[in-house]
């Protein structure tokens, strides 16, 4: 009896010990997948991914690379958030205001470029709000503070900003590079030249070649998977206003006419650090700034323009006035959509309601347009103000503080209500279960697109071409309107998946311009060839996107800033720029393509040598394994005897 009790007691102890041991989850080797594009989609991304894999494997992480097509890649990262880490381009303008959307906790659960990282940090949220709300005087400090917090947290690792190069023929069109060729405005206002050897036919067709097939498959301005920066949908749809900087600033990094490289690379890196922001902006415009005042006849609107931010020019809007925090926008007269119906105030009001919730207030989950979520968020209400041409905008915050918000809000594509209203219904794809709240509007290919833009849709063939024709009713073609107008009678965009063959089409006079940027490995040859040829010009323009390593902070260990910081230190950005980009990019420590806003202590190479935020642990692309391991251990991670990094992983 006694023995039995003793045995039971001993057993109980033993069982407790066993349970204690068994219920502890083992800590396994960290194994992660880098999601990226194959070389056919983005030659640099896959090379970056492999460099990062090699560095991580050297420090005991098991890495595999998953390559996806453009639309799959964006669907997995932006919409379904099914990734560990990814390497790709972040499409951004030059203003730091995008950071609010990109990293604020309130967007962590949303689809699109709003916080795809699932990064959440209350202190960081406060910095983001401050930099967004700050008036012009305090903004510089607020942005600097946000960037410092960013450098400490590394929600994603900014790697480098590639300069953009395109090849154009100068014998059929002139005026390339007056406006940034990554934007729709870059293809307006061109001068069609008579060609002496022309056949006498209508020869003002603009023949573009694009390396990404997606525009030939889908022209939906709301689609996060099929759009990068909306170049072609930007030609098809008008916005109420345009960024004045895009009208006047070519984005060209030099004032040279022909392809040159080299000298001006250093110039960019010096930046305009210490200068007052407004002065710097003025000077940025360079020569064109003098002649760039497009709208002398708009003097009457100058006061209003100041109130809503100095950076906007009316486009589809005729003018706007501000009264009691209500912005009243007046539309231009007689602007038809491509199907002949007039653009009315109701269409505009509908557009804003629709972009904010594509279900139009149905009882299902509200589903904003993922590409315009941040732009329409500051709007409280948008209503037609009693007649066909006036729309009243009410913002959530006082307008003096919201110039960036207004600029964002007035640059969304205006949609025709009679086409899009019925697309608020739930998407219906035969045989596939659709998630709650996915509307037709988000998944429709929108062919043919009906907008009011300078070009109308004409034809397309999947993976071969998309052809646009001039909208002869467009207001920019009218007397007295001093805005860049569509001069080409037709714009045929041929799809050709590689830079080499695209370049060949341009040099053989089968195309006039490459609308995609050229991959860096062909640039040496292209620049040399263009130098020798009379009728070829390399368009060099400022970066409009940057490469980055994105972490899925919803999962351990990517949720741990110490882990992210240590990974950031395994990436030799300067070496990557030389090896992968052949020097045609600028390594960055702050997540901005424009160095204007970057404080001295975060400027590349400003503080000692190289990366001021997360200096590389090693040399010339080779990771110093000992130092890197020590860094991981100092961050609280452990190694086993086989040198494998062990960590708890959430799946």
């Amino acid at each position: 009896m006694l023995a039995a009790t003793g045995l039971t007691a001993a057993m109980a102890g033993c069982v407790r010990e066993v349970r204690n041991a068994v219920n502890r989850d083992g800590i396994d080797q960290l194994s992660l997948t880098i999601t990226t594009l194959p070389a056919d989609g983005d030659r640099e991304s896959i090379q970056l991914s492999r460099a990062i894999r090699n560095a991580l494997e050297a420090v005991g992480v098991d890495v595999s690379i998953a390559m996806r097509s453009h639309e799959e890649f964006l669907r997995e990262t932006l919409i379904n958030h099914e990734f560990d880490v990814y390497v790709g381009r972040y499409p951004t303008g030059t203003d730091p205001s995008y950071l609010y959307e990109a990293l604020h906790s309130r967007y962590a659960d949303e689809a699109g470029w709003q916080n795809p990282f699932g990064f959440t940090n209350l202190t960081f949220d406060q910095s983001l709000e401050r930099q967004r709300d700050a008036g012009d005087g305090e903004r510089r400090d607020a942005v600097a503070e946000t960037l410092s917090a960013f450098a400490a947290e590394q929600p994603f690792v900014p790697i480098c900003a590639p300069r953009e190069y395109r090849l154009a023929r100068t014998d059929r069109f002139d005026g390339w590079g007056d406006r940034h060729p990554a934007t729709p405005l870059g293809y307006l206002g061109l001068e069609a030249l008579d060609r002496e050897n022309g056949s006498g036919n209508d020869d003002s067709r603009l023949r573009a070649v694009h390396t990404d097939a997606r525009p030939s498959q889908n022209l939906n301005p709301l689609s996060a998977e099929y759009r990068n920066r909306g170049l072609f949908t930007g030609l098809l749809y008008d916005t109420l206003a345009v960024d004045a900087a895009l009208l006047e600033d070519s984005g060209a990094e030099s004032d040279g006419e022909d392809g040159e490289d080299g000298e001006d690379r250093e110039n960019r890196e010096d930046g305009e650090d210490g200068e007052d922001r407004e002065n710097a902006a003025e000077e940025d415009e360079g020569d064109e700034g003098e002649t760039g005042d497009e709208n002398p006849d708009r003097e009457t609107d100058a006061n209003d323009a100041d109130a809503t931010g100095p950076d906007l020019r009316p486009w589809l809007a005729d003018s706007w006035t501000l009264e009691d925090d209500v912005l009243t926008v007046r539309l231009r007269e007689d602007c038809p959509f491509h199907d002949g119906r007039q653009v009315t105030a109701d269409d505009v009001a509908f557009t804003y309601r629709f972009l904010a919730d594509t279900t139009l207030g149905d009882d299902r989950v509200p589903t904003p347009s993922p590409r315009h979520r941040g732009q329409v968020a500051p709007l409280e209400a948008v209503e037609a103000a009693g007649n066909d041409r006036e729309i009243a905008f009410r913002f959530r915050r006082s307008l003096e503080d919201a110039s960036a918000a207004v600029a964002g809000a007035l640059t969304v594509p205006i949609l025709p209500e009679h086409v899009w209203r019925e697309r608020s219904a739930a998407a219906d794809v035969t045989g596939v279960r659709i998630a709650e709240g996915v509307t037709e509007a988000l998944v429709v290919d929108n062919v043919p697109p009906i907008g009011s833009g300078p070009f109308a849709f004409a034809d397309r063939t999947d993976r071969e071409h998309v052809t646009l024709e001039r909208n002869d009713d467009h207001f920019t073609l009218r007397e007295g309107v001093d805005l860049p107008a569509p001069t080409a009678s037709e714009m045929r965009v041929a799809i050709d998946p590689r830079s080499t063959s695209a370049v060949e089409l341009v040099s053989d006079d089968d195309a006039d311009v490459t609308t995609s940027t050229l991959e860096s490995y062909v640039l040496d040859d292209v620049i040399e060839a263009a130098d020798e040829a009379d009728d070829l010009e390399v368009l060099e323009s400022s970066p409009r996107s940057f490469y980055h390593l994105g972490f899925n902070a919803r999962k351990a260990p990517f949720s741990n800033p110490r882990f992210r910081r240590t990974v950031a230190r395994l990436i030799d950005k300067a070496w990557i720029v030389d090896e992968v980009f052949d020097g045609y990019a600028r390594p960055i420590a702050a997540p901005l393509v424009d160095q204007e806003w970057v404080p001295d202590d975060l400027a590349w190479g400003g503080d000692g040598d190289g990366d001021p935020a997360t200096p590389f642990l090693g040399q010339d692309g080779e990771v110093d394994v000992e130092a890197a391991r020590a860094a991981f251990e100092a961050a609280g991670f452990r190694y086993d005897t086989n040198g494998r990094l062990r960590t708890r992983v959430s799946r």
């Binding site: 194959p38 070389a39 030659r43 090379q47 492999r50 097509s69 998946p497 590689r498 490995y521």
Partner: protein, 275 residues
Amino acid sequence: MFTEMLLRVVVAVGCLLPLALVAFVGRERLASLRREWRQRLRESAPAVAVLAVVLVVNRLLRSSAPRISDEVGVHMTSTLYDLEGEFVFVFQSIETPALTAYFSVVYVYGYTFLLVFPILAYVALSDTVRLRRLLAAYALNYAIGLACYLVVIALGPRNVMPEAFAETMLYDSNPEYQHLTRQVNRYTNVFPSLHTSLSATVAIFAYRTRSTYQAWFPVAGVLAVSVAISTMYLGMHWATDVVAGIVLAAVSVVLSVSLVGRGWASTLRERVGLE
């Protein structure tokens, strides 16, 4: 661009074919062709029809294949990479401009010639069994290969390690070929290599008919080996794809030989009362 490239291939192969026919087949057999071609084609009609159906299905599936792959496909690129690593770099180590030109020509022109010539050569034989087996083997290659493409989503070495193929990558050294091949191929279709399997099929048939066409077997053999190597040299395929291609060729030949017999077609013809 596409039509121009197609024309170039058609013209080049069209010029080569008569020469090859005279050299390998001989005037005597070609002369017999004039008398009997109707009869021989009628006998081979079922095999021609099967091949035609497979090719049409292939064409029709082209637009919907990516969507089907999305549903049932498995991403295998990293598996292939883990399996063989940087083995294909072996061929990079012998890279010269002349070799690049040779393999590029073999990949496009040599391959087309290799596929078309034996059809004509076997039409010239009075016994149509070789022709019917060859056509059946082509159809099997395409059908099985197509099924693999739907299930296996994989990208070739050039898409994973673009910098390693900077000098030899077909579309960089000869950008114009891009216009031709992208009409035929998707970049996610690499496993198995159909270039290899169809070339190997031709080589196996050449071996089986070496008593009839003595000179053709060594030529077909060299061309087939060149095509297989070119797919790796140019960065299109992994070695695993090539091995799978050879296996597919062997399977297709064995199946076609056992399915298409001397007696089969004539039995069928008797049944439908053609004779």
